[in-house]
């Protein structure tokens, strides 16, 4: 059979060229530029060794704070979206039978909206004086909970996390609903015969059998959160101070200020980290 000639290699070239030129080449050449003083101030590019990395890891710079903020953002959104997403998924499969598809359609809606516009809307909702959230809290007698959501440096990051969770939980819910529907009914029936209640079924039947879906959801949340930009940029632009600055908002500042060598060193650290992470995720998924 001459089957192979019917699957010509040149069919892959379009995808391969786009991918190599616009994703791999910048990533890999960025590693080389990390060791230079590339900037907008001078047309000369000099090798400076590990200078950029010293700046990033020095205690005086803010880079470690940006990394810490990104990790907090990542960790809390993973937990919040997974727990809320699972609760909603259970509600729309076990709790509500009629109209479940309608509710699902509504709750998924923010996922298809531009994150930028969502952030702008929430800038008004989270306004301390006139915003809807504080107005509602005062209206129901919970005025003590009213906060300067995006202004108070101690809670601004969590406000951003809240908005991001609001926008992204529908996505996680939909995947977890598919996971829930793949759990065979007989397991629940058997558990009920053994006298298991809601929580017992959740912990001993649902969660163990949904592990693959939960792992996928965690990976998706992780990949998104490490690269988060739009929501932070439009809500707080990293402020107040550096309280909500994450890796990608810091990179944009380096870009705007012309600190290209430093910024590309910071980008490259993330590139290598996520490349290794991606490698293990693919190995893991391929086996499973």
């Amino acid at each position: 059979m001459k089957l192979r000639s019917n699957y010509p290699f040149y069919f892959t070239l379009g995808a391969l060229v786009l991918y190599l030129v616009f994703m791999i080449l910048p990533g890999v050449s960025g590693i080389a530029y990390s060791f230079t003083n590339w900037s907008s101030f001078s047309s000369k590019i000099n090798f400076v060794g590990l200078e950029n990395f010293k700046t990033i890891f020095s205690a005086s710079g803010n880079y470690l704070l940006f990394v810490k903020n990104t990790f907090i953002f990542t960790l809390v959104t993973i937990v919040a979206k997974t727990v809320l997403g699972l609760a909603l998924a259970l509600l729309l499969t076990e709790g509500v039978k009629r109209m479940a598809y309608f509710y699902r359609t509504v709750i998924y809606l923010p996922v298809v909206l531009p994150m930028l516009t969502i952030a702008l809307i929430f800038r008004s909702i989270l306004n301390p004086a006139t915003g809807l959230l504080n107005t509602v809290l005062r209206g129901v007698g919970l005025g003590v909970l009213a906060q300067k959501w995006l202004v108070n440096p101690h809670i601004a990051l969590y406000s951003v996390i809240g908005v991001d969770t609001w926008a992204g939980v529908g996505y996680i819910m939909v995947i977890l609903i598919a996971g829930l529907q793949s759990v065979p009914r007989e397991y629940y029936e058997a558990a009920e015969v053994d006298g298991a209640g809601f929580w017992a079924k959740l912990f001993w039947v649902t969660l163990p059998l949904m592990m693959p879906a939960i792992i996928i959801v965690t990976v998706l949340n992780l990949l998104y959160a490490l690269r988060v930009f739009d929501v932070v940029y439009a809500l707080t632009n990293g402020g107040p101070g550096y309280a909500t600055d994450v890796i990608y908002t810091a990179i944009f500042q380096d870009f705007s200020q012309g600190l290209w060598g430093l910024g590309t060193a910071f980008s490259s650290l993330l590139f290598v980290f996520m490349g290794v992470l991606g490698y293990f995720v693919i190995r893991f998924m391929d086996r499973g």
Binding site: L18, M23, S182
Partner: protein, 273 residues
């Protein structure tokens, strides 16, 4: 069975609450886009006293929305066509002809789902290829960004199309192009539609690429226009709301028309693994 009924009602109430929390921000945008400047200043949930439809005409002219809309449509449409076609052709060959090298290539491409963009060196690539600050450049960037996930999604679906069809077509004298476009593509339609919609929405909603690579406001898509409009007109929440509404409306319409494909795409992509 009273307790069961109460549980049912409680579950519906919870679901309605979750739905309300989801739509309230969109509702706020709709009602405030129709108010006067003073009434919209606090972005309250109250209905407009008088319908200020002129907000939309103002925004369309002042916010240069026709231009932004045209740019967004251009970027989303052409990047979707190029990205989906390239991803499908690559996925087809990589899936059907599984040599060691092609297996490696598949994993190498889908690794891109995890890889972050280096915007500094990408600038350099855009300069060398003369694509910076151009419309074509945006199309190509979006198309390239879509490749890893597109290949992943379509590759998974190809397993469901029996190889016997290929063999029959080859025996009938089909060449690779005929085989792909006349036999495989029709069968791939569901996954191609899903991939195309996700890609279109991704490009429509994208903000970061034009922020880095488009200085010339004539080339700005809706997202970047809205952001700059907001910067100048923050005091006018009625106009900002109208501008936001015009930006999200196409996304909402695509979603409502194609939700079946979007929701299925999410789950194929994720649960298949």
């Amino acid at each position: 069975m009273l307790p069961k009924r109460i549980k049912q009602v409680g579950a519906h109430l919870l679901a309605i609450f979750a739905g309300l929390v989801t739509v309230i921000p969109v509702y706020l945008i709709i009602v405030n886009s129709l108010k006067s400047k003073a009434d919209a200043s606090s972005m309250s949930a109250a209905l407009p006293a008088v319908l200020h439809l002129e907000n939309f005409t103002t925004v369309i002219t002042v916010g240069k929305l026709v231009q932004g809309f045209g740019n967004s449509i251009f970027y989303a449409t052409f990047s979707t066509i190029i990205g989906t076609l390239c991803a499908a052709m690559a996925a087809f060959v990589l899936s059907r002809n599984r040599t060691r090298f092609n297996r490696f290539l598949y994993f190498f491409i889908i690794l891109g789902i995890a890889l972050p963009t280096n915007y500094f060196t990408l600038t350099k690539v855009m300069q060398i290829t003369d694509l910076i600050n151009t419309r074509i450049g945006m199309v190509i960037l979006y198309a390239a960004g879509q490749i890893p996930f597109g290949v992943f999604l379509i590759y998974g679906f190809l397993d469901t199309i029996p190889r016997e069809l290929d063999e029959a077509a080859i025996i009938d004298g089909c060449g690779p192009f005929q085989l792909f476009f006349q036999v495989i593509v029709p069968l791939l339609t569901p996954v191609l539609v899903t991939e195309a919609i996700l890609s279109f929405l991704g490009a429509w909603n994208n903000f970061i690429m034009p922020l880095y690579y488009l200085n010339n406001s004539a080339n700005w898509p809706m997202t970047l226009s809205v952001y700059n409009f907001f910067g100048q007109w923050q005091q006018y929440w009625n106009l900002v709301s109208a501008d936001i509404l015009m930006t999200i409306l196409p996304a909402i319409m695509v979603y409502l028309a194609a939700q079946r494909y979007i929701l299925s795409g999410m789950t194929i992509g994720a649960v298949k693994g």
